[in-house]
């Protein structure tokens, strides 16, 4: 019996593919030295983390329509801590933890709610966060003042990615450092999501998603696992936000916008909801498309196009790009598809 047969064809092809991607990711800064592309790649990594976080919650049957809330809470909490002298590592993890605690609180409210109700509450929560934070704009200006002072190391270039994102670039020297920071954070998030989905917890999530009543009868503690899903997912979202705000030296209430709640959804659906690879592919494709449309000078149009893409996907491609990619990789690797999340 060969090793290949022992581990299983599926595992070999899938893991070697991921290993290859990691190698490419590690080598990328050697090839791409342009600040603009570096920034777009970091942005893609950020969206992969954020979409993976959303996907994990959706995997347990709970689709959040306001995931930007946790992104923003993570961002604001870490920013406030870091500008008050907390070490960045501690600040980032505390920010993520803050998002996770709010996630737990919202999860407790939502635990008895399904689909529509859950959507309504999470959607409203993000918008109300934005409205409340908007009223506290004096406070935000103060944060940005300190944040840009803290981040200023002499050569800040505010024009790098254009005004469309409204964000400032970090100093040029740390370009590769930031790249690897986001790269490892993303790999960590994906790995964590993979481990959760493959564990007993992941099976419980899937059982709850498919049939809550039956899962309950089989002895799955529904409340407990739903809250676990909320806590892990919001921790990941908060983590992404906590890294992103200090990276930009800038944060504003826009982080709570519908757009930010909407991006992980369209990305995950484009890739394939409920799979590990889905958010990765989706974030890659949608973010590159988004940035390219920005380069073409679109602002309102690209949002309109995104909406049209989402509606068309729901109507004609509800499983996303993942089944298509799986077919291709199966053909290349000579394996057969197994009904498991890639």
């Amino acid at each position: 019996m060969t090793v290949r047969e022992l581990v299983g064809k599926y595992a070999v092809s899938s893991y070697s593919a991921y290993l290859l991607l990691v190698m490419i990711g590690l080598a990328l800064p050697l090839v791409i030295t342009d600040d603009f592309y570096n920034r777009i790649i970091i942005l893609t990594f950020f969206y992969i983390m954020f979409s993976t976080s959303w996907n994990l919650l959706a995997y347990s049957g709970q689709a959040s329509l306001g995931h930007a809330a946790f992104l923003g809470i993570g961002g604001f909490a870490s920013t406030i801590l870091i500008i008050n002298g907390v070490t960045p590592v501690l600040g980032v993890f505390s920010g993520a933890l803050a998002a996770s605690l709010v996630g737990l609180f919202l999860g407790i409210i939502c635990v008895r709610l399904k689909e529509w109700f859950l959507g309504l509450v999470t959607f409203g929560f993000a918008i109300i966060m934005a409205a409340v934070v908007n009223e506290l704009s004096v406070f935000i200006e103060a944060i940005n003042g300190i944040l840009s002072a803290v981040g200023l190391s002499g050569n800040m270039d505010p024009h790098m990615l254009g005004g469309s994102l409204g964000i400032y670039s970090p100093d040029i020297v740390s370009r590769a450092q930031y790249y690897y920071l986001f790269f490892f954070a993303m790999v960590g998030t994906i790995l964590a999501s993979h481990l959760v989905i493959r564990s007993k917890i992941g099976f419980a999530f899937a059982a709850i998603r498919e049939n809550q009543a039956e899962a309950g009868m089989m002895g799955v503690d529904i409340t407990r696992y739903k809250l676990i899903a909320f806590m892990i997912s919001t921790f990941m979202a908060g983590f992404a936000g906590a890294l992103f705000a200090p990276y930009n030296y800038f944060i504003n209430p826009e982080i709570f916008s519908i757009h930010n709640s909407f991006m992980p959804i369209i990305m995950t659906i484009s890739g394939g909801i409920g799979t590990i690879g889905g958010p990765i592919i989706g974030a890659l494709v949608i973010n590159i498309l988004w940035e390219q449309m920005g380069l073409w000078g679109m602002s309102i149009d690209r949002q309109l196009i995104l909406g049209v893409i989402l509606v068309l996907e729901i109507l004609f491609l509800p499983k996303g790009l993942m089944p298509l990619i799986k077919k291709i990789t199966d053909k290349v690797a000579g394996t057969t598809s197994r009904d498991m999340p890639l």
Partner: protein, 290 residues
């Protein structure tokens, strides 16, 4: 004396704000009752209603309250189209698809509106904007009186339609039991389109009232949309009396909150109210177990 006058003034403001929520929430509830779909893009349909009235007003210069009826018809037809070519396609393929579809609609409608009419702030000038009813202790603008009276009128018409007519009876039957209604010869698909049309028309009237009372732009619908969702959860999903009571209550609570604590907490108080209701009574005040 001034104390009471101020409080009465706030009461009137709260009542008119509540009327907008009621018009939105009753429409949402009709759609949910019949189709079991919550249209997240309801706030955007309301915004389109405001723009339809604005456009008619801009080109004809007639009384906006009269033009509102045309705007309701236009947006009602638009709502029917959304049901027919959007929601109908994904009905029964899973609740998540319906949710994501309405999210896509938010993006499309909002950005199409910005594209067509820019995001400049606009206002519909009512011919009664300078007239007030002097009650001695307080002055109420005619526009607010009309808004309240109009909402009451619409609700009475809707009630009579649902109770007295055959179509209304068919709508209620579909809302209670799809299969049984189908067996009794009700064309359920027509009822879906009708409920969506009525919901959209009510949203259009809410949008027009909002546009007459305060300036607006294509992003105007988001917050009232969220508030309408809050109202239907507080009142009980699918319950029209619940939507009316919860809508008026939310309008009043919000306006008193602005007075006592400041504008920052206007939205937050709605959420606090929502959480309290969900914890104490998850089905809402008038809701039934699903």
């Amino acid at each position: 004396m001034t104390e009471i006058t101020t409080l009465l003034q706030i009461f009137i403001w709260g009542l008119t704000a509540g009327c907008i929520y009621v018009l939105m929430a009753v429409g949402l509830n009709m759609i949910f009752g019949v189709m079991k779909v919550v249209n997240f893009a309801h706030g955007e349909i309301m915004m389109l209603g405001a723009f339809a009235s604005f456009g008619l007003y801009y080109y004809t210069g007639l009384n906006p309250y009269f033009l509102m009826l045309f705007s309701m018809v236009i947006i009602g037809v638009f709502g029917v189209m959304i049901e027919r070519f959007g929601f109908r396609k994904v009905l029964g393929t899973g609740k998540l698809n319906e949710i994501f579809l309405s999210l896509g609609l938010i993006y499309i409608l909002q950005n199409a509106a910005v594209k067509l009419w820019t995001d400049d702030i606009k206002k519909i000038n009512s011919p009664y904007s300078s007239m007030t009813l002097d009650l001695g202790v307080l002055n109420i603008t005619y526009d607010r009186i009309i808004a309240i009276a109009f909402t009451a009128l619409i609700l009475i018409c809707l009630y009579l339609f649902l109770i007295r007519t055959d179509v209304g009876r068919a709508l209620r039957a579909t809302s209670q039991n799809h299969e049984a209604a189908m067996l009794m010869g009700v064309n359920v698909n027509h009822m879906y389109m009708l409920s969506f049309g009525i919901g959209a028309a009510l949203a259009a009237s809410a949008g027009t009232v909002h546009a007459i009372l305060s300036p607006f732009n294509p992003y105007m619908g988001t917050i009232p949309g969220i508030m309408a969702f809050t109202v239907i959860i507080i009142g009980g999903l699918g319950s029209i009396p619940g939507a009316i009571i919860a809508g008026l209550m939310l309008g009043l609570v919000q306006n008193f909150t602005i007075f006592y604590f400041g504008g920052a907490w206007k939205e937050a108080v709605a959420f606090v109210l929502l959480i309290i209701v969900l914890v104490i009574r998850p089905t809402g005040i008038f809701g039934e177990e699903h």
